[in-house]
């Protein structure tokens, strides 16, 4: 009996190994297969004793070779491990790591999104003879060993919204949050609250969540992962992967999105993207790797769960310890025991005090700010760096003085002046009233007012034509040809002559208002006053941090063709007399993708706006998402920039986002989508994933105009749609009416 079971187990292990290694030929696998077959063939003829010896020997061989195979795993094998139905899932973790738990996010398929599990769990800790149950909020994606209704851990927007709700609950209750990332990516539907917008909201809220957050990565696919993974401690299972995109997706893009990518290309992409736990540890995106048993943890590896429990407890302890000091003795004990002893021996209370809660958020920001520091090219000389830092400090002091201290006195003083003036006026009227009555004088109109009725109101300009000529005129307006508006069939628009369309009409169909795409220069000069602007961050250039094969050339080509150093342009400009910081994502540079350089530039721009108390306008002239060739260096910009934005908004600034042409994926799902003031230029598209990607990942056909700005507006993702010709006027209006308390011109 026992022998049968053990042989079955061995067969199972072999099947698992063969699943992992896929079609690849491997000597060890072949040997295991051969040995097992040999044994099975001669088994009926063996005695009981002989059998058990043989099985024991086979088991030893299996363990030995599994250890050997472990070292031969390539990145793609690791991807196959985390996707294997036998991989541990969140339910296993809840049962084996925590002492008790209650699911609160629904039960199995009866849930708003069965792909995510939310549970209140406890971890029992001993303090002498007393047992203390420490509560945590556990949130994570559930793949459920291949249960269909779990949707493979691909979370719908409302699932993320539910997760966010319970994160807030945890904040109110002041208990730590443990998140477990088991997702290949978010489910790209736009129905309210919208995949991208909800992830952005999650990031924005998590950036300021005042309780410790610890996350554990097993499968971290892009935006779906980030939605719950912005944490103070980020742990990773040793066979997990964490990347901007699945290797298949990268291969599909690399292969030109034509047909299915070959397995070899997928393998190569997995290699280049640096997706494994140790790669991510080396790059600094995770804090610790939790060693799994050879070839990945499966539910029967109880030893592993104990290890996992130790690690999450230690991580939570450390976060708490960092934010608020423990007693001196415990701090000493902790330092001494460091990694050796069971961390559960030293009791740490996980509820934070008011002060520590604030410190925690600051630490979280500092932690993310430090990531991907070396993933871009910083061409500034040392002197420039120093002077920038110095200027920053001086500006901080200046803002503090002028806006915080002096402004208060100025307000008081002007209030006093107003008071005196109003009193004097009242006095004058009271006294003067009877006299004017006596003199019976009708209030006459001064002759100069009369004169203004018939003379020119702006004589200094001579003939005084109010010129509405654009400062920058598109080169497309020099061709003598006609263009057909795409709405001709429905709106009956006549064909447009290119010089009219791209010159005077600013690329807008004069009949139906359809916006033809315009170069980003048009906006720079005609809307954002780039000619008089001061551009900063020019020395930061996009690089190739992962040394992704072949990407260096493409990047150099993009730099040459566009004359830009990265897809992001940051500058200070005066719009109608109001100084603002503007950041532009230019689509001609690698599709407006965001990588480490762009992220850094954006963060610096946001910080500049915060220090100088200026409004911050983010104009997305089109972005295809995160730059996949930068792998995690790119995807980490989502939380990084979002955190900077949150700090800015909380400091009382105005963060205004303007979408144009096509804006998709990562940026929309983070720093763009988190703005309370998002507007779109007409005829633009906004979404999480393009129609092609949606069809590929979900198998459903998207309705036409699914991502149109008007659809986004009616779903509540954006706040308004602006005509291109009115952008300047609307921006001015926005600057006067929107934003927080701390803008200098208010």
């Amino acid at each position: 009996m026992d022998i049968d079971k053990r042989t079955q187990q061995l067969a199972g292990r072999l099947a698992y190994i063969r699943d992992i290694f896929g079609p690849r030929e491997n000597a060890s696998v072949a040997m295991l297969k051969h040995r097992l077959e040999e044994f099975l063939a001669q088994a009926p003829g063996l005695g009981m004793r002989e059998l058990s010896q043989q099985v024991a020997r086979l088991e030893e061989l299996f363990s030995l070779l599994e250890g050997k195979l472990e070292n031969e795993l390539c990145p793609m094998d690791r991807v196959r491990i985390v996707r294997h139905p036998q991989r541990i899932c969140l339910k296993d973790i809840l049962e084996n790591v925590y002492d008790n738990y209650t699911e609160i996010g629904g039960q199995d398929e009866w849930s708003i999104d069965p792909g995510i599990i939310i549970a209140r769990a406890t971890i029992a800790r001993r303090m002498g003879k007393k047992t203390v149950h420490q509560s945590v909020m556990v949130i994570g994606q559930e793949k459920g060993h291949g249960q269909e209704f779990r949707n493979g851990g691909s979370i719908k927007p409302w699932g993320n919204a539910n997760a966010l709700y319970y994160m807030r609950v945890a904040e109110v209750e002041n208990i730590p949050i443990h998140t477990y990332v088991f997702t290949p990516g978010a489910f790209p539907v736009e129905d309210y609250p919208g995949a991208a917008q909800q992830i952005a909201k999650n990031l924005y809220v998590m950036a300021g969540l005042k309780v410790p957050i610890v996350s554990v990565f097993s499968e971290g696919g892009s935006g779906g992962a980030e939605a719950i993974a912005l944490a103070d401690r980020r742990l990773m299972l040793s066979h997990g992967y964490y990347s901007v995109i699945s290797p298949e997706g990268a291969a599909a893009i690399e292969g030109g999105l034509k047909d299915k990518a070959s397995p070899e290309l997928i393998e190569r992409c997995a290699e280049r993207l640096k997706i494994t736990a140790f790669d991510n540890l080396r790059l600094g995106f995770i804090d610790r790797v939790i060693q799994e048993p050879p070839l990945g943890a499966r539910p029967e590896h109880y030893e592993f769960f104990r290890e996992l429990r130790r690690e999450v407890v230690r991580a939570t302890d450390e976060v708490v310890h960092q934010a608020q000091s423990l007693g001196p003795l415990r701090a000493l004990a902790m330092r001494r025991k460091k990694r050796t002893a069971d961390p559960q021996d030293i009791f740490v209370r996980w509820q934070l005090g008011a002060k520590a809660r604030h410190a925690l958020v600051e630490q979280r920001y500092a932690k993310f700010r430090d990531m991907s520091r070396s993933a871009f090219l910083d061409n500034r000389a040392l002197g420039v760096r120093l002077s920038t830092a110095l200027a920053r400090g001086l500006w901080s002091v200046h803002s503090l003085l002028t806006h915080d201290l002096l402004a208060r006195y100025k307000k008081r003083f002007s209030g006093l002046l107003e008071y005196v003036e109003a009193e004097m006026r009242a006095l004058g009227q009271g006294v003067g009233g009877p006299f004017t009555l006596l003199s019976g004088g009708r209030r006459g109109v001064p002759p100069e007012t009369l004169e203004c009725l018939t003379t020119l109101s702006c004589p200094e300009e001579g003939a005084c034509r109010l010129d509405d000529v654009w400062v920058y005129v598109s080169p497309k307006s020099r061709e003598d040809r006609t263009l057909t508006c795409p709405n001709t069939a429905t709106h009956g628009c006549l064909d447009l002559w290119a010089p009219d369309l791209f010159g005077e009409f600013a690329g807008v169909c004069s009949h139906c208002g359809h916006h033809f795409p315009m170069e980003f220069h048009w906006y720079l000069y005609n809307v954002f006053e780039f000619a008089q602007a001061y551009e900063f961050n020019t020395a930061i250039e996009a690089g190739n941090p992962l040394e992704y094969e072949g990407f260096g050339l493409k990047l150099a080509e993009a730099k040459r063709a566009t004359g830009l150093a990265s897809s992001c342009i940051t500058f200070e400009a005066k719009l109608d007399g109001i100084s603002t910081v503007v950041a532009v994502l230019a689509s001609p540079f690698r599709g407006g993708t965001v990588g480490a350089a762009e992220g850094e530039k954006l963060i610096r721009a946001v910080e500049r706006a915060r220090i100088k108390r200026m409004p911050f306008i983010m104009y997305s002239h089109g972005t295809a998402g995160i730059r996949i060739q930068e792998g995690t260096c790119g995807v980490i910009q989502m939380p990084r920039v979002t955190m900077a934005v949150r700090r800015y908004i909380e400091a009382g600034g105005l963060y205004l986002v303007l979408y144009d042409t096509n804006s998709y994926a990562g940026p929309v799902a983070s720093f763009l989508g988190c703005s309370p003031y998002q507007f779109a230029v007409r005829s633009s598209n906004i979404g999480f994933a393009g129609p092609g990607v949606i069809r590929e990942t979900t198998g459903m056909d998207v309705p036409p105009k699914y991502h149109r700005a008007f659809s986004a507006l009616s779903r509540g993702h954006i706040q308004g749609i602006w005509d291109r010709r009115d952008l300047k006027k609307n921006l001015h209006q926005a600057l006067l009416t929107m934003g927080g308390r701390n803008l200098y011109y208010r």
Binding site: V445, L453, L456, D480, L494
Partner: protein, 478 residues
């Protein structure tokens, strides 16, 4: 001068006159028409004068792409827009000039059309040249305080003028067609009206700008016909005309040249001086802006005899004939019966110099133009449809009738008034040595006119003629 091939981008009566002018000047022409217009007189005339090859069928008169395609296909060198359609569309003129195969646009250059096409801008230009304009703002007002001050000043101005019931017009600067425009009679209601108009404009036109002007009642509508050569150095005028007899929709019905007749009527002010002043201002302004074709300066003259420039029409107008009929050019015997302003326009448009000065232009007699329009004066001048069965009049040397209705032509068949275009049927111009004779001849023409049709058109047309006849008595009286 080399012969041109001119594309006539218009229809009806004006197309016919352009056609005749082209033939008179020795130019070739291409005439376009839509399917519903195939029976129109201009198609008939083109076939007669230029043969079948001078005709092109198009889908719409309003599609510039199609017109330019036709121009390229038949190798035209110039395009005449007539009035309406593309006549005042500076983009059309610009495209004609700037395209890879340029066409001469017979009309002012596009920059002039653009600058003077906007009423507010015209007002600004006029003010910069000290040409009198209607008191009020010459730019959109966005500020309530400023608006109130302006209204206050206008009321005071009217007070000074002795106008008992002062009135201010508040209108949305982006508005048009009578939307977003209101009259205010006192300062107290001004504020609320201003706010209402501003909010209306903001919501519906997404432009907060509001214009404020004096509202003038009982004015006379005068026009000055100007002609200038290319280059904009030289300009003359062909006198004034009075277009005060209008139907409810501000559609002019009777025009008289000259604008006032101080010789036979008495006015409360010095009418001769007014005419002199407006022609002087018009020509001065034309020269200053570099005006380079024919155009019309539209003025309003208040009961006190104050002229204000209203707008400039940068095109040939329907009523050009009435100015032409009283003008003579010394040394050009062919103009003894009047100047053909359309020929002059084509000549100037193609770059010929004017060839005469203001001194050589003489004005002689009085002209009256009647517009016969298929609309019903008894029913608020609503356009009507129907079939015209008979249309005839007695030919006289002092009479010219321009019409595209084929019924009026020899061997003409009954004509169905097309519903796609404006309901103008015919223009009749009479000339007399003085006002009395002109009025008499006008009445004679109207009484002798035979115009009958089926019931839908018949009765309105008869009322129309009665309306014109009744108003003939009172023209030029202030």
């Amino acid at each position: 001068m080399a012969a041109h091939r001119i594309l006539i981008a218009n229809r009806g009566e004006i197309a016919m006159r352009i056609l005749r002018a082209c033939v008179g000047l020795g130019h070739e022409f291409v005439c376009v028409h839509t399917a519903s217009d195939a029976a129109s007189g201009h198609v008939r005339l083109a076939r007669e004068l230029g043969g079948e090859q001078s005709l092109r069928r198009i889908r719409s008169y309003q599609d510039a792409n199609e017109l330019f395609a036709v121009a390229d296909a038949c190798e035209a060198t110039a395009v005449h827009p007539g009035y309406g359609f593309f006549a005042e569309d500076f983009r059309f003129a610009r495209r004609a000039e700037k395209r890879d195969r340029p066409l001469i646009f017979i009309g002012p250059s596009w920059g002039v059309i653009r600058d003077l096409g906007d009423k507010i801008n015209t007002k600004r230009i006029a003010r910069s040249l000290a040409v009198p304009t209607i008191p009020g703002s010459d730019r959109p007002i966005f500020d309530e305080m400023e608006a109130v001050e302006l209204a206050e000043a206008i009321f005071a101005f009217q007070d000074e003028q002795g106008i008992t019931e002062g009135c201010v017009l508040v209108k949305a600067s982006a508005g048009g067609g009578g939307m977003g425009i209101e009259e205010v009679y006192d300062l107290d209601t001004f504020r609320s009206v201003y706010r209402r108009i501003r909010n209306y404009a903001k919501r519906n036109l997404s432009d907060e700008g509001v214009l404020i002007e004096q509202r003038i009642f009982d004015f006379n509508h005068l026009e000055v016909q100007v002609a200038a050569e290319r280059g904009g150095k030289n300009a003359v005028h062909f006198g004034t005309r009075n277009c005060s007899v209008q139907s409810l929709g501000r559609q002019k019905r009777i025009e008289v040249a000259p604008g006032f007749d101080p010789a036979s009527l008495t006015y409360a002010f010095d009418a001769g001086a007014v005419l002199d002043s407006i022609t002087r201002h018009s020509v001065h302004m034309a020269k200053s802006v570099g005006y380079d074709n024919v155009g019309t300066w539209e003025w309003i003259v208040t009961p006190k005899g104050e002229p204000f420039l209203m707008e400039v029409n940068t095109r040939i107008q329907v009523e050009n004939g009435v100015s032409g009929v009283i003008a003579r050019i010394d040394g050009r015997p062919e103009t003894s019966g009047g100047v053909d302003i359309i020929s002059e326009q084509i000549r100037l448009g193609l770059g010929e110099p004017l060839g005469y000065g203001q001194d050589e232009v003489r004005l002689e007699g009085v002209g009256i133009e009647y517009r016969i329009i298929a609309e019903d004066p008894a029913d608020r001048f609503t356009p009507c449809l129907g079939r015209i069965e008979r249309f005839a009049w007695k030919e006289e040397p002092w009479l010219r009738v321009y019409t595209q209705v084929p019924t009026a032509l020899p061997g003409g068949e009954p004509y169905d008034i097309p519903m796609d275009f404006d309901p103008n049927l015919a223009l009749a111009i009479v000339w007399g040595a003085d006002l009395a004779q002109a009025m008499e001849r006008g009445a004679e023409f109207l009484k002798g006119l035979v115009l009958t049709g089926t019931d839908t058109a018949g009765q309105p047309l008869r009322t129309n003629i009665a309306f014109l006849l009744a108003r003939t008595e009172t023209i030029l009286h202030f």
